[in-house]
């Protein structure tokens, strides 16, 4: 009897202790995650401009967003483009640079630092720098290209080239992937390479049958986190559009994200545009929920139990 009593008291004490340790996050979760998320769902069915009280309008926001808002499908397409092309380029080059670093025997530290630094450059500063570098008239890149006889594109000022320009900027900031791939590559057991070499495997075969299988979980991790990052892509396109168009959004300079021709508009910017520039909070919340569903679908993939990419440690 007595032992059972103390056991229960002990359990209660340990439960209270756990709650105490978790409490900052529990409050944060409720106030800054659960409550606003539920509110977003609620507002997506309301007509609300921030001044007149919200009124119920059923699925009107949703149908407006999907059928009548001219920029919704371009934003979806741009997001998809960035997810496919930007993520592919980042992962491919990240892996290539990671491999290159492990092959270079002299001055590794210097090279590694050089390749890593751009990742640290503040996004606004990096974007400003790239808009300047890729400036069609006077930018150094086009000057160099044209001096060797290549007719250079207008990059951020051309609807066909604005997304590739953003991709170049994203590939420049590849340092995080390089570090992750480098760590993974150094973890591949040396014996497997030696065995493959004894069997007469070529360089490519060693990459295909030893390296790739060993690092495939990391590649998948890089792809999924890259996809989530691409869906959140916000600062670079909005700053590039503002600076390249010369319309900074001040008085007399109305600014619409996506310049040129909505070619760089992504879902997060659409939420900003509809909510904070058009003051249509209801439709903005509907757009936010589309973003939520996409992001959570990929997060679920990241945490899938079998072959899950983030171990939950059980």
């Amino acid at each position: 009897m007595a032992t059972q009593y103390t056991l229960r008291a002990k359990r209660r004490k340990s439960a209270l202790r756990t709650l105490a340790f978790l409490s900052p996050w529990l409050i944060g979760f409720a106030v800054f995650f659960a409550y606003p998320l539920v509110s977003t769902v609620y507002f997506s069915f309301m007509q609300y401009d921030g001044f007149t009280p919200p009124t119920w309008n059923g699925f009107d926001n949703w149908s407006y967003l999907f059928n009548d808002f001219p920029k919704f499908w371009p934003a979806m397409q741009n997001t998809l483009w960035l997810v496919l092309v930007m993520v592919t380029c980042r992962v491919t080059f990240g892996l290539a640079i990671g491999m290159l670093i492990t092959k270079i025997k002299s001055g590794t530290g210097v090279f590694r630092t050089l390749f890593y630094l751009p990742y640290l450059a503040p996004p606004v500063a990096a974007t400003l720098a790239f808009v300047f570098l890729l400036n069609p008239g006077t930018g150094p890149v086009n000057s160099v290209l044209e001096s060797v006889g290549i007719s250079a594109p207008s990059w951020f000022n051309d609807a066909d080239w604005s997304k590739p320009a953003l991709t170049v900027l994203a590939v420049w900031g590849i340092g995080d992937l390089m570090v992750i791939f480098m760590a993974a590559l150094l973890d591949v057991p040396k014996e497997q390479y030696e065995a493959a070499e004894l069997d007469g495997a070529s360089r490519f075969q060693r990459f295909r049958f030893v390296t790739l299988p060993n690092i495939s979980p990391i590649i998948l991790f890089a792809v999924v986190t890259g996809v989530i990052a691409a869906m959140q892509y916000y600062t670079q396109p909005i700053v590039a559009a503002k600076v390249a168009s010369g319309r900074m959004g001040g008085s007399g300079q109305p600014f619409e994200p996506g310049y040129p021709e909505a070619s760089t508009l992504t879902l997060p910017q659409l939420v900003y545009n509809v909510g904070f520039q058009r003051f249509d909070y209801g439709t903005a919340c509907a757009g936010a929920l589309v973003l939520f569903v996409l992001a959570m679908a990929f997060t679920a993939l990241l945490m899938r139990r079998r072959g899950g990419l983030i171990g939950t440690g059980d």
Partner: protein, 304 residues
């Protein structure tokens, strides 16, 4: 001693003793190795140029006159170091620094202090709902901030009357930050349980075990989290745009830098000088804390 054994696979060709004849097969192998060495190193140099040149061009342009910055010249004709002084003395620039330091400094302290106990519980306690909690933390980490921004903005602007300031960005940091919790938890998993058990056997309560035993061992992890948090706030553009854009007195460097370009329409030289001033602290800190950075990045991706 026997003759030195033949090197199996020389990565770099070396001078050979004349006494040993070289078979044709060895010669091809050596030539291949040399070609490979050249290919790898020229690729390395090309990649280094791609990563380095943008910095170089930005730096060079920041030292040009306004007229020259609009030409195709790549090299400054006369070096205008006072561009930096002009930027520094632009009204508002110092305010942006102060605001950024407040947001990044206070935000980092708050989020690290509030995230440590949560990460500790998630890494070292056994309790019902542990897996679910961790999954929720990861979901919060992956949630694009735009998903919940409208209710959040309405809450801070209408209920709390705090728009036009950075407090809506700083206050939430006191309630644990999902990314910091996750990263710290990954780090704490690498600390063996035996140390904690030893402390408990010696009669330490959980809080004392955390403060006296775990924290000293977790310093590298805490440093990584603090750095990431600091740079997150330093680089944040979306947050200040939503809450502070109406009030220039509350702008941060990231938000101010963009408007700086707006105010100096054609002055690429000044804009690039401002860009350098915003990038420089980040790069300086990196050189002092390289290890913590790299450790943090690997923790997010590889371990777990």
């Amino acid at each position: 001693m026997a003759q030195p054994t033949e090197k199996k696979n020389p990565a770099v060709p070396t001078a050979r003793p004349a006494s040993r004849p070289v078979t044709p097969a060895q010669r091809t192998a050596r030539r291949k190795a040399l070609l490979h060495w050249i290919a790898v190193h020229s690729l390395g140099v090309a990649a280094a140029l791609f990563f380095l040149l943008p910095f170089v061009f930005v730096l060079l342009t920041s030292l040009m006159s306004d007229q020259q910055a609009l030409t195709r010249d790549l090299w400054p004709r006369d070096w205008k170091f006072d561009n930096y002084l002009t930027v520094w003395e632009t009204p508002g620039f110092l305010t942006w620094w102060r605001n950024t330091l407040l947001y990044a400094g206070l935000g980092t302290v708050l989020s690290v202090v509030s995230s440590i106990p949560v990460a500790y519980a998630l890494a070292k306690f056994r309790f019902r709902g542990r897996r679910l909690s961790l999954m929720l933390v990861i979901s919060m980490m992956m949630l694009p901030p735009q998903v919940i921004i409208i209710p959040m903005y309405l809450f801070w602007a209408k209920q709390m009357d705090m728009s036009g300031s950075l407090w809506p960005l700083i206050i939430p940091m006191a309630f644990g930050d999902a990314f910091s919790i996750f990263l710290l938890r990954q780090f704490l998993l690498t600390i063996p349980d035996e140390y904690l058990d030893a402390a408990r056997v010696d009669g330490c309560g959980e809080l004392r075990t955390l403060l006296r035993v775990v924290l000293p061992m977790a310093k590298p992890g805490i440093a990584a989290v603090a750095l990431f948090q600091f740079f997150y706030a330093w680089n944040d553009y979306f947050g200040p745009q939503i809450y502070a854009s109406d009030n220039p007195a509350a702008w941060t460097l990231s938000y101010g830098l963009e408007s700086f370009k707006g105010a100096h329409h054609t002055n690429w030289n000044l804009t690039m000088a401002a860009t350098v001033l915003v990038m420089a602290p980040v790069i300086l800190v990196f050189f002092f804390a390289q290890k913590a950075f790299v450790e943090g990045v690997t923790l997010t991706g590889v371990k777990g």
